[in-house]
Symmetry: C2
Subunit: 345 residues, 2 copies
């Protein structure tokens, strides 16, 4: 639903400045929308912070702002995306996510019904992922100073003994695995934004990956790097890792999973799927010895069905990511320099 | 500086959509602005999450979005406010803050120089408070879809053994203390917004209160409630506590510290100082036995110089906050029902 339409429902059905004022209207919004859907003992205590219990171990904290446009898209909405996105960042550190916080910045005039739909979606995503949203904050900005709703979530998780993953741990001759098809999220958003119609609807892959990660960690002690290729797609994420680890990479284009309809949409839109965002995929880097076992575990999980070995880590002082193309040539997979797909997450 | 002015500096001096795209421009922004000012070993690791060490104990997590307008105001800016605001929420749970995360939502065209000034201010505030900003996130939205910059911070802290504070712990006959003058922050913001000139400049009280809290906890084991009266001011915060604890309150108007210039400004603007926001003040509720000792400790701290005993907790099934006025009458200090001062924090 478009923001401009919602205001015609009048003040009663829309967020107004009083909802951010710290007075009775805000208390009622918190009770009727946030607490009603997100209820848990910690949140319901109603303090400005959450008192939490955490098992012993190293902790991981991660934060992510969500500004996706449109707010509702095939396969999800900003609510579940804000849960999945931050849970995944926690999981990519090898951690088991425990708690989330959520900060909302809402534009005056935003329909309360849409806000409630989004909060319900967050609640569902958190419940399915087995985490609690333990505290939050709501601000309201004047019409024209925001864009519907922005949601910043922060996650806290715990890393099991012995797990050591990080973007700086890739080593030459290690193997690069990818959990599934690329570009689904970005194309789902774009198809909605541009009102494109494809033969089959392309839906976002937005999903919480920590269950898959837990299975992987159990069988592959050599797992060195985990990362989800979100903004900037597979290309940006592999370049980040190459720089952090001071290595190069060599990919096989033909090995990278890509849905036929996403490929066709990319061709139509003039996009390179390597740069298109994903919200439910991960890259894993491990020793050759562990690769097949890891792939088998990934393929046994619903979110890793299409997992594939897509390349190897190389020794390269220039930290280049190269790819052998379908035609047998080699191309450089660089960072994207200019603008590509804004507001994708 | 006004957003409209900054764009005349041209693209080179302003944030553009590529800074949020996940590509090279974003990496450079993170390196040149965020890492340069906020540098610490955890942040510099450059992963999507922060691996942190936490001493054993109960933890507190709190999150707060900051949308203050204008971004720069007498006594502070959105940067230090975003640090203080969340540190204080953590401290009000009786916790010692350890780590912060920061999520930025930046409007296209925002001056890089202003962004840098804000990040430098955050860095200074965090350093002074002894906490590290360990991970962050940057999103850019199109011009007209944001308002300069919004910053959502999340804090993590640890609660010492034996400390039990919470908004639901006030009991009849306990004493209500306030750490200093009310309304300074709100009036500082408003004076800038309305271009009001007072004889003396009224500056925001924005400050990190956890040092004061640590001193207080040490001497007063009966400390039951701590809360900072931000949005909605003293009135909203006391009503919140009254509802959480199922008690009433009786205040003495003449005992509530209020600067003469803030009082004059409130009269001029038609505002009740009880509803005006503070960003460096706290309310404490404790047993009568501890009150004088606690007040002495508060007054010995630079942020509690003007601390005062402002009232008592009462048994009241209606959870009313009442106040004996300067004229000897009694008035109800209710929640604010309507809109008052938007975008104050």
């Amino acid at each position: 639903m478009n923001i401009m339409e919602t205001t015609t429902q009048g003040r009663a059905g829309a967020v107004d400045m009083t909802h951010g004022g710290g007075g009775r209207a805000m208390v009622e919004l918190i009770r009727n929308v946030f607490q009603r859907h997100l209820s848990n003992a910690i949140l319901d205590a109603g303090n400005d912070g959450a008192l939490i219990d955490v098992p012993r171990g190293r902790l991981v904290m991660s934060t992510d702002g969500h500004v996706v446009s449109p707010l509702f898209f095939p396969g999800g909405d900003i609510g579940c995306l804000a849960v999945h996105g931050t849970l995944n960042d926690v999981a990519m550190m090898g951690a088991r996510p425990l708690y989330l916080t959520a900060g909302f910045i809402i534009e005056e005039g935003f329909a309360l019904a849409d806000l409630e739909r989004i909060v319900a979606s967050m609640a569902r995503a958190a419940r399915e992922a087995g985490v609690a949203i333990v505290t939050g904050d709501t601000k309201v900005v004047e019409k024209g100073k925001g864009d519907g709703v922005f949601i910043t979530t922060t996650g806290l998780g715990v890393v099991a003994e012995g797990v050591e993953v990080g973007g700086d741990r890739a080593r030459p001759e290690q193997v690069i695995l990818l959990s599934g098809t690329i570009g689904d999220h970005g194309i789902a958003i774009l198809s909605k934004r541009e009102s494109l119609e494809f033969e089959t609807e392309i839906i976002s892959d937005t999903a919480a990956l920590h269950g898959l990660v837990a299975d992987m960690i159990e069988v592959a002690p050599s797992l060195s790097v985990l990362r989800d290729p979100t903004r900037g797609g597979l290309a940006a994420t592999l370049n980040e890792i190459a720089h952090q680890s001071h290595v190069g990479m060599r990919l096989e284009e033909s090995a990278i999973p890509l849905r036929a309809d996403v490929k066709a949409a990319c061709e139509l839109l003039g996009l390179d799927p390597l740069y298109v965002a994903n919200e439910g995929k991960l890259i894993a880097i491990c020793n050759e010895d562990d690769a097949e076992r890891l792939l088998a575990v990934m393929r046994a999980h619903p979110l890793g069905r299409d997992a594939a070995r897509i390349g190897v880590v190389t020794a390269d002082v220039n930290n280049l990511v190269q790819m052998r193309t379908g035609f047998g040539g080699t191309r450089l997979v660089d960072w994207l320099a200019g603008e590509q797909l804004p507001r994708i997450c």
